[in-house]
Amino acid sequence: MQEGEIPTLPRGVRLHWDRVRETWVLLAPERAITLDQVGHAILSEVDGHRSFGEITAGLAAKYNAPQEQIAKDSAGFLGALRERRFLEVS
């Protein structure tokens, strides 16, 4: 993920509160991925408008953590989703 790239959840992929298991999940075609707090925090910022750099800067401010570390973790997480076609990047 480059700083200027804009991640988007494509049609058919959405965040969902699993009220039975009391956790956030990412619903995608024939898949449900349980999200931890970090995963949910990152995906909550993905709105199809803001760039990867803006998202990680926002998270760094919000959680008072170094942006570099957040960018590294987020890139790995989002990259894995992208490979599975659960995330698009423009």
């Binding site: 992929v13 969902h16 039975v20």
Partner: protein, 369 residues
């Protein structure tokens, strides 16, 4: 009794009616007749019960689900219940107008089956002339609306050579995923092993093609692969473990741990007409019969893989070893393994076997419009 966790997925077999008659159909030999099918409001109630139980993914299947004229209403009811809706279809019976209505109803995803990559192959296997042409039209409409698409290519000895083209077609259609599914021998397929069993060489070639395509198409197309079962050394992790992740509701409301479970004679099944889904899932006799690992005899009981594949497929153990608690004969640790491999070779070498097409449940109407 094992403490069960909530199920993630439910397969709703809305009907056993289908315009196609594929010789590997997973529907049971004894099919539910139209007049016994659950009504719209029954299904809506079951969807709500499923969501309350913890189901996230709903697979709307059949037969051909588009044969149900209330499909759009059912999708809406499922979305209102909070379920992710996946339509598993041959495409036959879908029109541009119906797809628009499904879009309006909130359908999340379409899985389109592929019987072959040419009209000649697809129409022969599906037993429905003009089916391939129609399917290609439906694929275009799906793409135009923008539904996420998975192509489900069902492969066997007669069409495995078309695998590379099937992968190309998935890319051309804009599918995000292709399921490369080698026929599993349950239901009607069990009658067609002589006609459909791949050769060992074909099975190995398919694995090679999939591995190559996965690397080449990384980030473009996800490839899920179901290898040729009889030629494997370890059994499939059937249903992710019996009664652990998924359940299946038949057109007439019976709740099964897997779609072939009715082939196990000693099991009895509850019906959504009589009991809440949650009671059936947690307390039903059929679900508890092979849940967890306590039921396992040797060699499964002491096997290090027992929570990897849960002893394989119970229905296959029934069909091939005559005992639903036996180790799946695909497993190298099964006393039936050597015999099964020999039988697989014999089936694969049976030249000229005619296809036995699946029958229709009672009267089969023409597809809508």
């Amino acid at each position: 009794m094992t403490t069960a966790r909530p199920p993630i997925a439910m397969l709703a077999e809305l009907t056993h009616r289908c315009p196609l008659s594929c010789p590997y159909c997973s529907n049971p030999i004894e099919m539910a007749r139209q007049e016994t099918e659950l009504a719209t409001q029954d299904w809506a109630r079951v969807f709500a019960e499923a969501a309350d139980l913890g189901v996230l993914q709903l697979h709307l299947s059949g037969g051909e689900p588009a044969t149900r004229r209330d499909l759009e209403t059912l999708v809406r009811a499922a979305r209102e219940a909070g379920l992710y809706t996946n339509l598993i279809t041959s495409g036959i019976g879908l029109t541009e107008r119906r797809l628009d209505a499904l879009d309006q109803a909130g359908l999340d995803h379409v899985q389109l089956s592929l019987q072959g990559t040419t009209p000649e192959m697809a129409d022969e296997i599906g037993g429905y002339r003009g089916g391939f042409k129609r399917k290609m039209q439906v694929a275009e409409w799906i793409g135009a609306i923008g539904f996420p698409l998975t192509l489900n290519a069902v492969l066997h000895r007669r069409n495995l050579h078309q695998l590379p083209r099937a992968i190309e077609m998935a890319v051309e259609m804009g599918a995000r995923r292709i399921e490369v599914a080698t026929v599993q021998f349950h239901g009607w397929a069990l009658k067609n092993r002589d006609a459909l069993m791949p050769t060992r060489e074909q099975a190995a070639e398919a694995t090679r093609i999939v591995q190559e395509a996965r690397l080449r198409l990384k980030g473009t197309l996800v490839i899920d692969y179901v290898p040729a079962d009889y030629h494997s050394d370890y059994p499939k992790r059937c249903m992710g473990g019996w009664g652990s992740t998924g359940l299946n509701v038949t057109p007439d409301g019976q709740v099964l741990p897997c779609h072939a479970a009715q082939t196990i004679p000693h099991l009895s099944f509850d019906n959504v007409r009589d009991k809440p889904l949650s009671e059936i899932w947690y307390e039903g006799a059929a679900f508890n019969a092979y849940r967890g690992t306590d039921w396992m005899p040797e060699p499964c009981a002491s096997c290090e893989r027992k929570t990897v594949d849960f002893g394989g497929c119970r229905c296959q153990a029934m069909a091939l070893a005559g005992d639903p608690a036996a180790t799946d004969p695909v497993c190298i640790k099964s006393p039936h393994h050597v015999d099964l491999q020999a039988r697989a070779e014999a089936h694969a070498a049976a030249d000229g076997a005619a296809l036995v097409y699946r029958a229709a449940p009672g009267k089969a109407p023409e597809p809508a419009e």
